[in-house]
Symmetry: C2
Subunit: 340 residues, 2 copies
Amino acid sequence: MTSASHERIKGKATSYDVARHAGVSQSAVSRCFKKGASVAPRTREKILASARALNYYPNAIAQGLITKRSNMVAIIISNLTNLYYPEVLAELTQRLSVKGIRVLLFSLAAESEVDDVLDQVWRYRVDGAIVAARLDPGQLAAFADRGVPVVLYNRIGEGLPAASVCCDSTSGEHALVEGLVEAGHRLFGIIAGPADSYVGEERVQAAQKRLNQLGREAVIVRGNYDYESGDTCLRELMKITGRKLDALICANDLMAIGAIDCARINFEIDVPRELSIVGFDGVGPAKWLAYQVTTVRQPVRRMTEAAVSMLIERIEQPGILPEQRLFAGELLAGQSARLG
Amino acid sequence: MTSASHERIKGKATSYDVARHAGVSQSAVSRCFKKGASVAPRTREKILASARALNYYPNAIAQGLITKRSNMVAIIISNLTNLYYPEVLAELTQRLSVKGIRVLLFSLAAESEVDDVLDQVWRYRVDGAIVAARLDPGQLAAFADRGVPVVLYNRIGEGLPAASVCCDSTSGEHALVEGLVEAGHRLFGIIAGPADSYVGEERVQAAQKRLNQLGREAVIVRGNYDYESGDTCLRELMKITGRKLDALICANDLMAIGAIDCARINFEIDVPRELSIVGFDGVGPAKWLAYQVTTVRQPVRRMTEAAVSMLIERIEQPGILPEQRLFAGELLAGQSARLG
């Protein structure tokens, strides 16, 4: 190939260029790159050699218009989850990529901002979506109307049934609360997540309800899922309770870690002897030697695997009915709380 | 609209359906959704009302085939960066999204695995790419050949000039080394990153060179950028040096944090009085009260902003020449090292 002919098709080789180069028809080239279509072995070899020589790649987007499959899946996730629980996106992306599916990433400033991105989700004709954010019934219906299968991650369909994969927050919080009450803790504090966080609310309500059933009450303050919230919320709780707090339940591990540091370093409180602190999630830093947070670990590998396989099922069989999969979390005893 | 007619077009409203519903031509509908094309105001209103009624959205992918713009940008990043420095992806995604550009995410198991995803990058006809992974000259040339602008993030073009945004690792490591030498440290250890990590190698080489210039030598072991590596590599260095190590330079903050915990908890060493430990990056946990890592903070906001604006420039003006932008990092004195 001369440099001039190379120049002419730079970055723009089409199936027609390949057909001309290989001395075959364009439809043969097209068949050669279509799954399951038949081409004679020798023709295929010629075409693949020409494609390599011309740097030709079939246009996935144009193919998507024909096959009605874009091989793209939207992941809709909040910035906070992204930053403080990066394992979720990493695992989902890796699992989809192994299946030859690309991730179109939508990161929300707040969980309640799904509406801002849905227009874009429709426009890109994704094959499906994994949504780790709140969807109201109207938004769920919009997915159904457009025939875009959706799997909710750590949320369930509100108002409408939907395919979902969840960690069992309720049982997890119950186990933590029961262990803390059994160990004799008396004055409980709760650091909740942002008001629009589905899992945050679920966890706090479960903890509060079980505490009440066991005859305990809790002072609740609201954080933003970050390390700093653990610090500021613990200070607030200390003020409200006159430093009498002896058990603290945090809606995620990052806030528990912030509270542990604040208790030890700012208040010189012995954790867990004087104050028990528990989290939720089982993120990387919760296992660090300095913290060893008592928490509930979400089985993120099994959950992401389930989310991806449920979505692929629904892409391949659009009529399939909703299914909820609820995974038990694992109580990690850790070193940040005394449990009975 | 009756339920039957709604059913008929469920999820599939086309520009022809909208045209029929609005009583206009398909080309009027097409013009209505094309930027800069003219449609009479009353016609536009009718079309928009019909589009709303039919849940019609113009197909971004089909439009992309016509305009030659997909409004998608590939971000190619390693899983490790994703997991241990999530700020980078979060900031890039948010900044692109503000510009109306979607992120097609490619997450690599190892930096050296770029080849595995390039085929997919070409197939999806992305408008450009931000690459936080190593590209060899052949891969850089492939981007140029296909007319896909690329901006390297924390890498520079190897062999070929390329647009890039970097934090100045060399000056950052020099400042750390000079401070440690001035404070009188004698026996240095270095925990390097994975062998295929561009920034990791750059940092280690810069530290080693400056140490040698100042008449010091260092024992180097290699980690994997994670917390656990900080622990295992410090144990190894302690064995090699007969526990005489008094300064430890880590290629990122996560390994520095792992080493701090290991030193304090497993070896009962006072950090920084007996052992100074420094990191690099300035990630969230480096600021936590329990660590306050002495490190160099990358100006991630300015760097991601620069990467996005450089890429958009190159998408809009394909002929623009390569530019390298090198951002100084900020030395954070912290509490994990004694600096002179």
